[in-house]
Structure formats: structure tokens, C-alpha cells
Symmetry: C2
Subunit: 349 residues, 2 copies
């Protein structure tokens, strides 16, 4: 029994089994049926490989085959229920395909985005799911140059297929929900509904804002530009803006549409300075879902994007090799306040 220095390689297994490296390779990579290697040989090799603790060196395989077996997911941040759910689904889909999932966050920072995509390309990522980057064009260019198949998620990109939430439909439902659960006794500017958060330039916000405007116009008869406060997604900014709004109109409005969880974090921060009654009088909606938000001291209508479905569709697009910049919209669910228990909980802890 000859000694092996480090991790066993195909050569070691070949020597130990009396077969050639190429035979061992075929057996260990599962292509031995096609190469018509005898079952006996295959079993012997697998036996030895197992007992030696052999595991394929994916760097070598990747180099030789010209691909790596890795798929990437780019997120703005892990620290958010919506994106975290995406990660979970992404891992499931990747593993189902025998691929290695690599999830990275880039904090909506354009430099970080291109640097990170560059890194992934260096590692010969096979395909990339791009969720919520700030500069899809730059990222897409990099991918195209490197021949990396890619799909946009959540926010569409210009040069490849995109899977997004049906932002118009979701926003329309949410807007209706908060409008119809408004309470009376609001006067002046406070009687009007407001939307806070998001970036006017981005597709999701644009659609959500349009739906908000449409529904508000339909229900209330009119809408002013200042009822839409697209102050980005950062909590701190949102807090400042909600503060300004409250000062300007003399209190919370009758209805408030909060455009994403991160914005909601900022808003809730500000709410702590108000009394519970003040808050409870307002009808609050949030485009995105978090189970704990479901249980807050005031009712929050939420839109839960179907991240599992979105990720699944993204993978289908990658599998099928489509690269036209189609836009696929997935309808989200409207979640009634305090209805956390209508949906199955995760059994993971």
C-alpha cells in the first residue's frame, strides 16, 4: 500500500487501482457508462476513492472544462427578509442542479458591484442572478463581455431577461388596502395618503408609484406630486423624510405607503417618537414582508413578494439559455395585518 502525501488525486487512485488516470476520471465523474468501462472496474475504483477520501478538485476540473460549476447571486444586503428569502431559494435551486451557490452582497454600491462581479467572473462563475444592483448596465456589460449568462431579479436590466415582482398589481392592491382601511377625522393635508421611499429612476419604484397614483386618483379624485416622497431606500433618509412630512402636514397622514422593508426600518424608527394612538390612527402599508412587522403594535398591510417563484423562474431562464431582455412579472401576495399565521412557518432554526 503506497503512501499518499496530501489530498489524493486521480493519479493516486489510478496507481492504487491499477487503472489509468483517464479511466479513473471517467468513473469518478460519472461518465463511465458512456465510456463503457466495466462495472467491476468502476466499482473497484469507487471503492478505493471512497476509502482514500478522494474528492474532485473542482479548480482543476473547472480549468479543464472551462467552467466552474458555480452560480452567483448578487444582493444589496443580506440583512433583510426579502433578500434573505431569496438566498434560501437560490441555494435550493442551485443545489438541485448540482451547482455551487455563491451569494454576495454589494450594498447598492456601484463600485462594490463591479468589483464583486469582476471577482466572480475571475472565478469563472457560470451564471449570475443579479438582484437590485444600482447600475445594471455596468454589471450587464461586464457579464456580456465575459460571456456569463445572467438574469436580473427584482430590478430589471437592459441586456438580459428579468424576473420582477408585479409591482403595479402589488402596489395597486396595497394602496387600495390602506385607502379602504383609513379612519375618518383627518383634515387638510393629513387626509391625503402618502408614499415614501424608492428611487424615481428605478423600474420597481416607478411602477409602484404609478399604481399608487392611479389608485389614489381613482379613489380620492386627485393626487399631488408631493404625496410621493421617493427618497431612496436608506433607513436614515427615510426617517428624516417622514419627520419632515409630519412637521409639514401636522401629523401622520391618514394613509402611508412604505416602499420596502429598509424604508420601513427608518419609518418605524421615527414612529418611536409618537404615541401609539397617533400611529394606530394611520393606515400603514409596506411593500415587502417581515414576520415581525406582522406583529407590531399597529396594523401593517404588507405585500409579500414570491421570492421562491421569482428565483425558480430566474433559474429556468438560465437553464433555457434565453437571453432576450424579456420582463417576467410575478404576482406578489397581499398580506393582511396580523395574519402571520396564515402562512407556514419555516421549520428551520
Amino acid at each position: 500500500m503506497s503512501e499518499i502525501r496530501g489530498k489524493p488525486t486521480i493519479k493516486d487512485i489510478a496507481r492504487l487501482s491499477g487503472a489509468s488516470p483517464s479511466t479513473v476520471s471517467a468513473v469518478l465523474s460519472g461518465t463511465w457508462q458512456a465510456r463503457r468501462i466495466s462495472e467491476a472496474t468502476a466499482e473497484r475504483i469507487q471503492e478505493i476513492a471512497g476509502s482514500q477520501g478522494y474528492s474532485t478538485n473542482m479548480q482543476a476540473r473547472g480549468l479543464r472544462r472551462g467552467r466552474s460549476g458555480m452560480v452567483g447571486l448578487i444582493l444589496p444586503t443580506h440583512d433583510n427578509r426579502f433578500f434573505a428569502e431569496m438566498s434560501q431559494s437560490f441555494e435550493v435551486e442551485a443545489r438541485q442542479r448540482g451547482l455551487c451557490p455563491v451569494v454576495v452582497s454589494t450594498r447598492r454600491d456601484p463600485n462594490e458591484e463591479i468589483r464583486t462581479v469582476g471577482t466572480l467572473i475571475s472565478y469563472s462563475i457560470e451564471s449570475l442572478v443579479i438582484a437590485g444592483v444600482s447600475d445594471p448596465t455596468a454589471v450587464g456589460d461586464l457579464c456580456r463581455l465575459a460571456g456569463v449568462r445572467h438574469v436580473y431579479l427584482d430590478l430589471p436590466g437592459p441586456d438580459a431577461p428579468s424576473v420582477v415582482s408585479d409591482n403595479y398589481a402589488g402596489s395597486a392592491s396595497l394602496t387600495r388596502a390602506i385607502l379602504f382601511s383609513r379612519q375618518g377625522h383627518f383634515e387638510g393635508l393629513r387626509a391625503r395618503p402618502y408614499l415614501i421611499g424608492g428611487v424615481v429612476g428605478d423600474h420597481a419604484s416607478a411602477r409602484r408609484i404609478r399604481a399608487f397614483r392611479d389608485v389614489v386618483t381613482e379613489v380620492c379624485g386627485a393626487i399631488d406630486d408631493d404625496q410621493v416622497i421617493a427618497c431612496g431606500y436608506a433607513p436614515l433618509q427615510a426617517r428624516a423624510e417622514i419627520d419632515r412630512l409630519v412637521r409639514r402636514i401636522g401629523g401622520l397622514p391618514s394613509a402611508l405607503f412604505v416602499n420596502s422593508l429598509t424604508v420601513f426600518e427608518g419609518v418605524i424608527t421615527y414612529f418611536q417618537t409618537l404615541t401609539a394612538e397617533d400611529i394606530q390612527r394611520a393606515a400603514i402599508g409596506c411593500y415587502d414582508y417581515d414576520p415581525f412587522v406582522s406583529a407590531l403594535q399597529f396594523a401593517v398591510h404588507m405585500v409579500r413578494q414570491n421570492s421562491a417563484e421569482m428565483v425558480a423562474r430566474a433559474f429556468e431562464l438560465i437553464d433555457s439559455g434565453v437571453d432576450r431582455p424579456d420582463l417576467i412579472e410575478i404576482e406578489p401576495d397581499l398580506i393582511a395585518p396580523r395574519s402571520i399565521y396564515d402562512r407556514p412557518l419555516s421549520d428551520v432554526g
Copy 2:
């Protein structure tokens, strides 16, 4: 100007620049000072590489150098504020070191754990941070066999250094906090404090439970075994157990120590069936922090583990090459109810 078929390689740049592949390699991998290559040559090569959109093939480099430049983090789930914060810190630390972070979740599933670690090893991961796996011994064995440096996080392992929260201290503070904010008018079994969640066998739970018992004994004079319900970390299980408890003792107890966010998710699920008054009468504590929990309709004392510090220490251990199974404990913070705003918000959205 000669044509290049696919992605440019070092050979292409060599040809284009009139230098040799090894010179190009030295320049492009930043070791050219040591090789005393002239600044002029270096600049010329960098120029050309830039204009050709060259990027290092990390699979080739990794294969040649015998390491990959990747570090891994194994989590139970992304879908949890504590672990999500870990991911964020992990990425920062990894990138600071020029490494590529790979974060994967394994859902506390022993098979998934070993399969995933196997995959990472196949990819020649350089080191691994292992947070909250169910079978540290199996995972550690794999790493050791493959010569992968590793550090345990959150839950200690037997064969390598571990960085964990100071569970005893954190739990003692939290227990005190809820005991001292109990309200009167509880009789019989309901007057007693209870702890729910966790696994008796695991280090974190063991320490937290011990502290809970010590402090309860100190403050209340005694504690019964049935005041500790170590029912695992799964939300569904926790819901069932809290339900049983309430039936058994006739309502919520005066004080409830919830051992982790996932358990809290289950508990809050059950709370929805109670009235706000019922809940508000109980003093609730949660070992772990979530900003939205801070804003619930009832006060929750929380322990916020210092995940940034924990991750930083884990990397220091990896950097320094220590592999004795030392245990490093990082003191967590006690967060008073509704004090979300004492801490800086993320500015990421």
C-alpha cells in the same frame, strides 16, 4: 493587432506586449517589484491588460498555487437577523483580506452540512467559519482531513478555536432584566419565570440555561426543571410548546426567556391568539436582536450578540494560524425594550 478568441489570457497579453508570459504573470499578480521588472514594462503590460479586459483566471491560479482565495461561512439559515448580520461582517472581513467570501446555509441538517462542506473543500476553500452546525465533530473531521483551517462561531467545536457569545453573562443579564420588570398579580405556577427554546446538548443553550437557573434561584429562591423548556430552535416546535405551557399553568408566565430569534418567531405566532393585555403583563426577553422586535406591541428585552466583533475575532484566529481549540467569549449587549434608536441604523437600502 492580432485577434483573441475568447477571454484574453496571459499568453495573449504576452504576445500583445512583446513580453513573456512569466513577466506578464508577475506584473498582473503584483509580484513584479520583487522580480525587479522595469516600471516601464509593468505599465505597458497593465495598460494592455486593461484595454483587453483581462482578468485573472482564478481557477488556474488556484490550481497552480494550491489554494483558491476563497473563505467559507456556514450558517443554519440566512433568514434571521443574527446570521444575516454575520454574513455582512464576514464579507467585509474577507474582502479586506483580498479573499472571496462564500456564504452558505445548511439548515441545521447534518447531511446538508457534510455535503456542503465537502463541496467547499472540493473548491479548495482556504478556510472555513462554521456557525451553528448541528454536528461540529463531523464537520471538523472533514476540514482537518482536507487541511482546511477552520473556526467555530456561535457554537463551539471540539477540534479548533471557537468564538462564541458570552452566553452566561448575556443570559444572566437578560434574566435579571425580565425578573426585575415583572409585574405583580401572578399566582401559582404563573408567578414563576420560564425559559423556552434551545437544545440541552449544545454549548450555547447549556450556558444560557445555567445562567437562567442561577439567577432565578438567586432572585426567586428556587427553580424547577419544568421551568426550562429546551425544545430546539424550530418556530413550529416552539409554538406548540408555548401553547402547552399556557394550558398547563393557566396563562402566560410572569416572565418568559425566549432562547433565539427563530424560537421567538414561533412564540409570537402563538401570541397572536392572546389579547394584547395578556401579553403586556408578561416580561419577555429574547436572546438575540431584531430591530422590528424592538417595536412590537409589547416590551421585549433583547440580547444583541456582537456579530461584527465575533467575525473579526474569527478571522484573527484564522490569520494567526492558531488551531488549539480555545474558546473565546464575546460579551453581548443587553438592549432595553423599544430602544432601537440608540444604535446606528444601517445606511444600506
